[in-house]
């Protein structure tokens, strides 16, 4: 692997940058692999990287039907936090957060993880109760999260409107200082490059069209648009398309895929120092390194694979932003896009073995998968390598829906009285 550094840029710059090599090879599929990952987003590429780097499985391939990082990895608002309520979730997301902290150095690729702080606003008494419950649970789990008064929130985020003249005045906020953002493309590319360097084949424009099982029902091969690939282990990490891929193996999952839109403003000089989220007003916002305000909100109401949604989602997102940050009313939307988010009934992911031997699935991240990328990939690699879940992802199995052991982050946050 060509090492990246300021010095290497300087040296190669002197010769017109002619000597850079591809960040990863354009591999063609081989006839057989020890393991195949379906889905070339951050989670899938990361899984391949950890399979190779932690578990020594290097004869593996990542199959991507389009281009690497072109799904939700390249379409999200890049928020990173770990202040989840339930112990299981906190453990998973905090595992990820720890990996984020030195991911750039580990991958030798600047993923621009920036702990700018994630502030979640409370607008009513119920919000305050929910926020406090999170803060206490997080503290006891070793996850940083603290309560801010409105004045402290304003100090942390000067553009915030904490006056009484808005519909839902800010009563306070929960702040996770280690939360922040990272550069989404860099995560996919950094993992791709690092995995490639360990021998992983990254195969773009390769769509899975079927699975072959042996007499015992175990996976023995993957059929693809670029030919048959023999393998005994397949990890599916296909986000919004997971249901469709798993159907090829006759595995049904408790998933529904919804359109999720996000948008950015035109770039401006630094105007917004952190990430702010509001569940009550339904919006979240941060500013990218490029200067764009990055804004997201809820999903469209219906399942869809179109990667687009309605105008009303934008009007409702932006009226919320303008209410909280009235000085941004004259800012202009530069670009809007849509992703497909796969959602489980309890809004928590599935990272698990499946009823089919040799077939593993990592899905159901809903609107929040980016932040988990390194942790998700790390424990999924463990699950595939050992045919047993890592203790962190053991609760995130499929059977929990049958048995009622839900990890219901949504219900815990959003019931009004």
């Amino acid at each position: 692997m060509q090492r990246y550094s300021a010095l290497s840029i300087f040296h190669r710059g002197l010769s017109g940058h002619e000597s850079w090599r591809p960040q990863w090879r354009r591999a063609a599929p081989k006839a057989a692999y020890d393991a195949v990952i379906v889905g070339g987003g951050g989670h899938g590429l990361g899984t391949a990287y950890y399979l190779a780097s932690v578990h020594g499985l290097t004869n593996i391939a990542v199959l991507e039907k389009g281009w690497v990082g072109g799904g939700n990895t390249g379409r999200n608002t890049t928020i990173i936090r770990s202040n989840y309520l339930f112990d299981e979730s906190a453990a998973l997301y905090n595992h990820a957060l720890k990996l984020w902290e030195d991911l750039s150095q580990v991958l030798n690729y600047n993923v621009m993880y920036s702990a700018r702080g994630v502030m979640m606003l409370a607008h009513n008494v119920h919000d305050v109760q929910v926020a406090k419950r999170h803060i206490h649970a997080n503290r006891c789990n070793g996850v940083d999260n603290e309560w801010l008064t409105p004045e402290q929130a304003k100090e942390f985020c000067p553009p915030l409107n904490i006056s009484d003249n808005i519909r839902y005045p800010v009563l306070g906020a929960a702040l996770q200082r280690r939360g922040g953002t990272a550069r989404h493309d860099a995560v996919a590319w950094g993992y791709a490059r690092a995995a490639d360097a360990l021998g992983v084949d990254i195969i773009e424009n390769c769509e899975v069209t079927g699975f072959r099982k042996d007499a015992h029902g175990a996976i023995e091969a993957v059929e693809t648009s670029r030919g048959l690939i023999t393998t005994r282990k397949v990890g599916v990490v296909a986000a919004g398309n997971t249901s469709a891929v798993m159907r090829l193996a006759d595995v049904r999952l408790p998933l529904e895929s919804f359109p999720l839109q996000a948008l950015v403003s035109e770039p401006v000089k630094p105007a917004f120092p952190c990430v702010v989220m509001s569940n009550t007003i339904h919006a979240y916002i941060s500013q990218s390194d490029k200067g764009e305000l990055v804004i997201g909100a809820g999903t469209d109401a219906y399942t869809s694979y179109t990667q687009r949604g309605g105008l009303h989602i934008n009007t409702h997102t932006l009226d919320a932003i303008c209410e909280l940050f009235p000085m941004f009313r004259r800012m202009q939307m530069l670009r809007n896009w849509g992703g497909i988010v796969d959602v489980t009934p309890d809004r928590s992911p599935i990272i698990a073995k499946t009823p089919v031997k040799g077939l593993y699935v990592n899905c159901g991240w809903g609107t929040g998968g980016f932040k988990a990328t390194p942790g998700s990939a790390h424990v999924f690699a463990h699950t595939i390598a050992n045919d047993e879940p890592h203790p962190i992802n053991a609760p995130f199995n499929i059977e929990r829906f049958r048995d009622g052991f839900l990890i219901d982050e949504a219900a815990a946050a959003a019931v009004a009285h």
Binding site: E256, S257, Y305
Partner: protein, 96 residues
């Protein structure tokens, strides 16, 4: 915002409707006879079709009626609307 044809009121904007999830998942008449797997199937398993999807809508801010629709989830184009209780229409070309 989608345009949705309520079988009672005609074409209306999506904002008048509530999405009701996948259609034709009837509540078992006697849930006590189901094992946990079967019950979980009813509760949670969805086809999440990439293609023609039978789904429920309720004209919640209109005539208040539930009805069903066939929609291609790869284009969001509606292919049929029909009333609750009616069988899923067979589309021209035999596509279910």
């Amino acid at each position: 915002m989608l345009q949705i044809q309520c079988p009672y009121c005609g074409v209306r904007p999506e904002s008048e409707f509530a999405y009701g999830g996948e259609a034709h998942i009837a509540r078992p008449t006697d849930p006590s006879t189901l094992n946990d797997d079967q019950w979980a199937e009813f509760l949670y398993m969805r086809t999440n079709t990439k293609g023609v999807h039978a789904e429920r809508w309720r004209h919640a801010r209109g005539c208040n009626r539930f009805f069903n629709a066939l929609r291609d989830t790869t284009s969001d184009r509606f292919l049929a609307f029909y009333r609750t209780g009616e069988p899923r229409p067979v589309l021209a070309g035999g596509k279910p």
